[in-house]
C-alpha cells in the first residue's frame, strides 16, 4: 500500500509518515499541491492521499479539485488533514471530492480509524 502525504510542515509530514509506515504504507511526501502533482508523475497511483488545507503554491482544496478533474488521478482516495474546523470547510472539502476529513490535532488511532472507514488498510 502506498500513501501520499501533502503538508507544508515538515514536522507534520514526519509524524504522518511515521504513523503510516507503522501501518505498513510506503509514503511519498510533498510540501504543497503543485509539488504533489509533480511527485505523482510516473509513479503508481497511491492508495490514499492525506492533504493539508493551507499551503503555499497550491493549497489542499485546489489540489483536491485538480485531482478530481484530472484523468489520471481522479480515482485516488483523498483525506483532508487540517486545522480548519468549521462545518463550512468540512462541507466544502467533501463537495470538492474529499472522501474523509481529519481535524488537527490527531492521534495515530484517529488516522487508523479514518483509513478503516475508507476500507484502506496498510501492508
Amino acid at each position: 500500500m502506498r500513501a501520499l502525504v501533502v503538508d507544508d510542515s515538515a514536522v507534520i509530514r514526519t509524524v504522518l509518515t511515521r504513523i503510516l509506515t507503522n501501518l505498513g504504507f510506503e509514503v511519498i511526501q510533498a510540501s504543497h499541491g503543485k509539488d504533489a502533482l509533480d511527485k505523482l508523475k510516473g509513479v503508481p497511483l497511491p492508495d490514499i492521499a492525506l492533504v493539508d488545507w493551507n499551503m503555499p503554491e497550491m493549497n489542499g482544496y485546489e489540489f483536491i479539485r485538480s485531482v478530481r478533474e484530472s484523468a489520471e488521478y481522479r480515482d485516488m482516495p483523498l483525506m483532508m488533514v487540517t486545522t480548519e474546523t468549521e462545518m463550512e470547510q468540512v462541507v466544502k472539502a467533501l463537495a470538492a471530492g474529499a472522501n474523509e476529513y481529519l481535524m488537527k490535532p490527531f492521534t495515530p488511532e484517529m488516522v487508523q480509524e479514518k483509513l478503516q472507514i475508507l476500507g484502506i488498510s496498510g501492508s
Binding site: E86, V90, E113, I117
Partner: protein, 274 residues
C-alpha cells in the same frame, strides 16, 4: 500522596458492591488519580477525606460521584467498525424480514457511556434502512453513570471525539457546530430513551424483550460470577432469535454455553435453541 491500603481496600469493595467492577490490588494509582478530582469538587482535602465521608455515610451524591469516577468510559463512534458492518449487512436485514408482520424492532445499548455507540447505530440505520422510519423502533440506552448519561442525552461532542471513527459525511449530515463543540441533531437525541441501569442488579424487571443488545466493553470489568448472572439475565430479555454483541475482548465461551457465536462475526452471539 499515595492512598492508604485500608482506604484502597474500602474503595475497591465499595465499587464491587455498587457496580460489580473489580479493582485489583496494584491499581492504587487508578483510585488516586480518579478520586483526586472528586475530592476537590466535594470540598474535601484528599482521597482519604472522601473515604472518611463514605465510611460515615454510604449513600448520596458523593457515592454516585465516586462510582462515576471509577468507571472506565472510553468509547468512540463506530468503535471497531466490524460490529456495525455486521449489523448493516446481516443482522438488520435479517430482522427486517423476520419482523415484517409486526414492523417493530427493539434495541438496547446496555453500557452506552457518553452515547457514541447508540448514536452510531442510529445513524447507520437512518442511512441504510430508511424504511425503519415507518416502523416502531424502540431504542433504549443505559449506563450506570449518571454523568455519562447526561452527556449522552445532551449529544454534544468535542473535536477530539468527532475525530474518532465518525465518517465525515455523517458529521456533516447529523451534527452542527455549537461554539467549539459538535452538537448532534435533536431528532437523533429524541429517538433514544436514556435510562440509568445497573447491569449487576440481581433481576431485571420490566426489561425487554429485545431484538438486538449491545453489551460491549463492560463485562471485562466484572468477575466470573457477575458475568454469568448478567448473561443469564440477558437470556431472559433477549428474544430467542435475537442478537447479542460483545466487545472484541469478551466472550460467552466458558462463561455461559447457552449462546453460540456467529460464524461470520465472532463478537455477535445468538441464544442456542432450547
Amino acid at each position: 500522596m499515595a492512598i492508604a491500603s485500608d482506604d484502597f481496600r474500602f474503595i475497591a469493595e465499595l465499587i464491587r458492591e455498587q457496580a460489580a467492577i473489580v479493582i485489583e490490588p496494584g491499581k492504587e494509582y487508578l483510585v488516586e488519580t480518579r478520586l483526586g478530582p472528586v475530592a476537590v469538587t466535594a470540598g474535601l482535602v484528599n482521597v482519604a477525606g472522601v473515604v472518611r465521608e463514605l465510611r460515615a455515610k454510604r449513600a448520596g451524591p458523593l457515592l454516585q460521584r465516586v462510582v462515576d469516577a471509577m468507571t472506565t468510559n472510553e468509547t468512540s463512534f463506530f468503535r471497531d467498525l466490524q460490529p456495525f458492518e455486521h449489523l448493516k449487512e446481516r443482522v438488520i436485514p435479517d430482522l427486517l424480514e423476520r419482523r415484517k408482520a409486526e414492523r417493530s424492532l427493539s434495541i438496547w445499548c446496555a453500557a452506552s457511556s457518553c452515547g457514541q455507540e447508540p448514536y452510531s447505530m442510529l445513524m447507520m440505520m437512518r442511512e441504510s434502512f430508511p424504511q425503519l422510519q415507518q416502523w416502531r423502533v424502540q431504542f433504549l440506552a443505559t449506563d450506570i453513570s449518571q454523568q455519562m448519561l447526561a452527556k449522552a442525552r445532551e449529544g454534544s461532542y468535542t473535536q477530539l471525539e468527532v475525530n474518532r471513527g465518525l465518517p465525515a459525511p455523517l458529521l456533516v449530515k447529523y451534527f452542527h457546530k455549537k461554539g467549539i463543540e459538535w452538537q448532534i441533531d435533536d431528532s437523533l437525541r429524541r429517538a433514544i430513551d436514556w435510562r440509568e441501569f445497573n447491569l449487576s442488579a440481581r433481576t431485571w424487571p420490566g426489561m425487554g424483550p429485545f431484538d438486538i443488545v449491545m453489551l460491549r466493553n463492560v463485562m471485562i470489568y466484572f468477575d466470573l460470577a457477575t458475568k454469568r448472572q448478567i448473561l443469564a439475565n440477558m437470556r431472559k430479555v433477549l428474544r430467542p432469535d435475537g442478537f447479542l454483541f460483545l466487545g472484541t475482548a469478551e466472550t460467552t465461551i466458558n462463561v455461559d454455553d447457552s449462546y453460540a457465536s456467529d460464524v461470520l462475526h465472532t463478537a455477535c452471539y445468538r441464544p442456542k435453541a432450547a
